[in-house]
């Protein structure tokens, strides 16, 4: 009954639920639809704000040096300062405990304030807040560099492979297999053990050089199907060059897959960096990363748990946010994606069809 009614109008052709979705997307470009869907994903939007806020917070906290240019940070300690270990306010026998307080005075706490060392001090007195900030900067930097390099190589290799097929495809895919067989952690260990002191930037770059394989396979698969579609034939008949077809016609259609897997690559990257630093093959002292901090202080959990909690919480927050953003993007780019249909949606859809009939 319902279906018949819909069909008799100029409203969307396919069932009640589709009507709701089609109504929503009428007259919007693909980009606008994706954006709308993403904005509606509550977890992803929250995560986006969290990660942006965190980046701002973390990167402005400490002094940044670009050659001779020095941008002062808002935090009053650096990772090199060695203030005295303070024991005021700590439990019996403890030194360097955190001064961060989030319990307001009217609940019997000491009020909301950061204090001198909000995250406490490490065993030689360095301000742990500064260390965690530096570590988070490093970890985020590694994450973005791996995402950028891995994403770029993976897209290019996958695109060329899937578009050209034949022997080029065979060679590139064997190359991919080849790199897959060598686990990143092995490369990381071997290279890191020897060149470890070249710094975080170098670590990020070579990890990026070895983490594009999964992405390239996905992109290849996407290109293999897309290149058989009619719009590609149409473009070719119209005289478009291969380059134009790849960049103007196929790539925009594959961009969803690419963006989603790059986000997942990034959330994997931050854990990879953490794991390598933990094993001693990633970031090495005197540089700081979140993984290194946890690894240094894992035995102090029972005595000085703050040395363990804060870097861990930062890793989890970053990785969790990136994962949620990736999930939001996946939903946004997936054309089959269905949002939960609420009662309100149904009512408004009914209202639409009714007015449609009356017309």
């Amino acid at each position: 009954m319902f279906k018949k009614k819909v069909n008799s109008t100029s409203a969307p052709q396919d069932g009640g639920e589709n009507a709701i979705f089609n109504k929503e997307t009428q007259g919007l470009s693909q980009g606008q639809i994706v954006l709308r869907r993403f904005v509606r994903h509550r977890g992803a939007m929250t995560s986006l704000f969290v990660i942006l806020g965190m980046m701002l917070f973390v990167f402005t906290a400490l002094d940044q040096k670009f050659g001779s240019l020095k941008i002062p940070g808002w935090w009053h300690y650096t990772t090199e300062d060695l203030p005295d270990l303070r024991s005021i306010g700590c439990k019996e026998g403890l030194v360097g405990c955190p001064t961060l307080s989030i319990k307001p005075t009217f609940l019997g706490g000491t009020g909301v304030h950061l204090g001198e060392h909000p995250f406490g001090q490490d065993d030689i007195g360095r301000d742990y807040f500064a260390l965690v900030m530096r570590g988070a900067q490093r970890s985020m930097m590694v994450m973005f560099v791996i995402g950028a390099i891995g994403g770029a190589i993976g897209t290019v290799v996958g695109a060329i492979s899937g578009f050209s097929r034949g022997w080029i495809d065979a060679i590139l895919m064997r190359l991919t297999d080849f790199i897959i067989t060598i686990p990143v952690i092995i490369i990381g260990s071997v290279v890191g053990y020897h060149f470890g002191n070249l710094g975080v930037g170098f670590l990020a770059i070579y990890l990026g050089l070895f983490s594009w394989t999964g992405l390239s396979r996905l992109v290849r698969g996407e290109f293999l199907t897309l290149r058989e579609r009619e719009f590609v034939d149409a473009a070719r008949v119209a005289g478009a060059s291969n380059r134009r077809i790849i960049f103007k016609h196929i790539l925009p259609n594959a961009v969803g897959v690419i963006i989603v897997s790059v986000t997942l690559l990034m959330s994997g990257a931050i854990l990879l960096e953490t794991a390598l630093s933990y094993l001693g093959f990633g970031v090495v002292a005197p540089d700081v990363s979140l993984g290194l901090l946890i690894s240094n202080y894992q035995d102090s959990f029972t005595t000085r748990p703050w040395l363990f909690w804060y870097p861990g919480l930062f890793i989890i927050t970053i990785a969790l946010s990136i994962n949620f953003i990736g999930d939001g993007l996946r939903d946004a780019f997936d054309p089959r994606q269905r949002r939960r249909i609420t009662k309100k949606d149904r009512q408004s859809a009914k209202a639409v069809t009714r007015t449609g009939v009356q017309k």
Binding site: G43, R174, D177, F178, I180, T181, I182, P183, I185, I186, I187, S189, V190, V191, Y193, H194, S267, L271, T274, A275, Y278, L279, G280, F281, G291, I294, S295, Q298, F301, T302, F308, G312, I315, I316, I318, A319, L320, N323, F324, D327, R336, R340
Partner: protein, 513 residues
């Protein structure tokens, strides 16, 4: 097909050759195995160096030494594979042979648990799409994705080992915990079972009260210090298993299957005390294997007796029921071992260990003690590994099942009047398993590679530890052996996954590249 497989093997060999060559040279360039000895003031340092140079053939430049190594590997075709010597002048193959069982023990159970748990939760979330349970599980899955394993491991050590051991000293559950845990389980079950508002409240109330009663009982009787089911509870569990398995396997409407499953439960009750006698006097892995075979034989007999028309599903149900009831019986027996095990001097009432793969102080000889010891040592690492790996299975099985449920054949199945159980278990679940199987194959191949970080955190000596040691001490032969085994297995697993995929899904044809 044969040509396809042969070609894949050819490619596999080429890839292995290339990547091992590159890794060998990279690793050889990454450090000097003699460094420690060169600066050593030990008078015998020079002699030691000569010995090392001799056994590891360090006088041959790396690219050529690779071929010497390759010669040893290729000798594998004649049955005498030669991975060379480690730095401590031990055979690499024997070092690896002791590490593999450890690693398999560690990762195998974690992988199994992760798969079973992940797929179950994934399916429930897909069937309850957009429910609160679904959202909660999605969140938990993402949280697990984002956890560094060593961080989890430290938390587990603190809360599951140290605190639990403290708790066992006086196993009374605090009243606040009872209330909290009861409400939590009520919420979880209400979210899973869902329904209209009234039903949800009923489920919530019922589950909360039941859990509270159970926990109070366990607390009062100090059950955690002296756990065990005993025949009565075992029988109740067995009946529960009988109904559950029948429902999932063929549906409760199949009276023959239900009757044979119930019979299995009754038989388990009859055999409870004879089993205990066997367990006490003839305990060994062989006994358990024989009992398993006997269980299957009984199940086959029972199934055949009750089945009127369709024999296979009835027998299958009886066998599955028998298997799980046997599992419960075994757990019961281990629980009875728990208190004597705790009281041994080696354990001294702190049963959950934070490191190590076995208790060296435990006197060998008692099958139940030593097996329980191994299980207890596996407890924390298995939980840690399961936690971080089951999230992937949740996401994947949920996504696949949702895809499958949107297919036309599911609509057809529903339209022709099949009940929901048949639609889900026979039509949807089986098709969901096709892509999942291929993922599992690849995961299982990764088991041998071990879990470098987990092994390190929990102090196990498996493949991951060997690899770590090989890299830090520039032990080239050891490194190459670990790499060779893991890489070969993962390449083979990919091949098997492809073949399996085409075998399971006739629409996919391999052979045309």
């Amino acid at each position: 097909m044969l040509a396809y497989i042969l070609r894949r093997f050819g490619i596999l060999a080429v890839i292995l050759f290339g990547s091992s060559f590159i890794l060998f040279n990279l690793a050889a360039l990454s450090g000097d195995p003699l460094e420690g000895l060169r600066t050593s003031t030990d008078p015998s340092a020079h002699r030691q160096m000569m010995v090392l140079i001799n056994t590891l053939q360090l006088d041959v430049p790396p690219p050529l030494r690779y071929f010497l190594w390759l010669k040893g590997i290729l000798a594998g075709f004649t049955g005498h594979i030669d991975f060379g010597m480690t730095r401590d002048s031990q055979l690499v193959s024997s070092t690896i042979a002791t590490a593999i069982p450890t690693t398999v023990r560690l990762v195998f159970f974690a992988t199994i648990t992760a798969i079973v748990l992940g797929i179950t939760i994934g399916i429930v979330t897909a069937l309850r799409q957009y429910s609160r349970f679904d959202y909660a599980m999605t969140f938990i899955a993402f949280l697990m994705f984002s956890l560094p394993i060593f961080w989890v491991a430290v938390l587990l050590k603190e809360f599951l080992a140290i605190q639990f051991n403290n708790f066992l000293a006086n196993p009374q559950i605090p009243i606040t915990w009872i209330i909290g845990m009861s409400i939590a389980s009520g919420i979880v079950w209400a979210a899973i079972l869902s329904g209209d508002r009234r039903r949800v409240w009923q489920i919530f109330g019922g589950v909360t009260l039941l859990t509270a009663a159970l926990l109070t009982y366990l607390s009062i009787t100090s059950w955690f210090a002296k756990p065990g089911f005993g025949p009565a509870v075992s029988f109740i569990l067995a009946i529960g298993i009988a109904y559950g398995i029948t429902q999932l396997s063929v549906g409760l409407s199949n009276r023959d299957a239900l009757r044979s499953a119930q019979t299995m439960a009754v038989i388990s009750l009859i055999l409870y005390f004879p089993n205990q006698y066997l367990f006490d006097h003839y305990a060994s892995p062989l006994l358990i294997a024989i009992q398993l075979l006997v269980t299957f034989a009984i199940a086959a007999a029972v199934g055949t007796y009750f089945a009127k028309i369709d024999r296979t599903p009835t027998i299958r149900t009886a066998m599955l029921t028998g298997f799980f009831i046997g599992f419960i019986t075994l757990i019961d027996r281990f629980m009875h071992t728990w208190n004597p095990y705790m009281s041994t001097d080696a354990v001294n009432f702190r049963p959950v260990p934070t490191t190590g793969q076995a208790n060296p102080l435990l006197e060998p000889g008692n099958f139940w003690f030593s097996t329980l010891d191994i299980l207890v040592h596996m407890f924390l690492p298995t939980i840690a590994l399961t936690l971080i790996s089951f999230a992937g299975y949740i996401r994947y099985s949920r996504g696949t099942l949702l895809d499958v449920l949107n297919q036309d054949y599911i609509r057809t199945a529903r339209a022709k009047g099949l009940n929901e159980r048949t639609v889900i278990m026979r039509h949807a679940f089986r098709n969901t398993m096709i892509p999942l199987t291929t993922i599992m194959v690849v995961d299982f191949a990764g088991i041998i590679g071990g879990a470098i970080i987990t092994e390190r955190v929990f102090g196990w000596i498996g493949m991951g530890t060997l690899f770590n040691r090989a890299v830090t001490s520039f032990d080239l032969n050891l490194l190459m052996a670990v790499f060779f085994i893991t890489a070969t297995l993962s390449l083979l697993a990919n091949l098997v996954a492809d073949l399996l995929y085409s075998a399971l899904d006739p629409r996919i044809r391999t052979g045309k590249g």
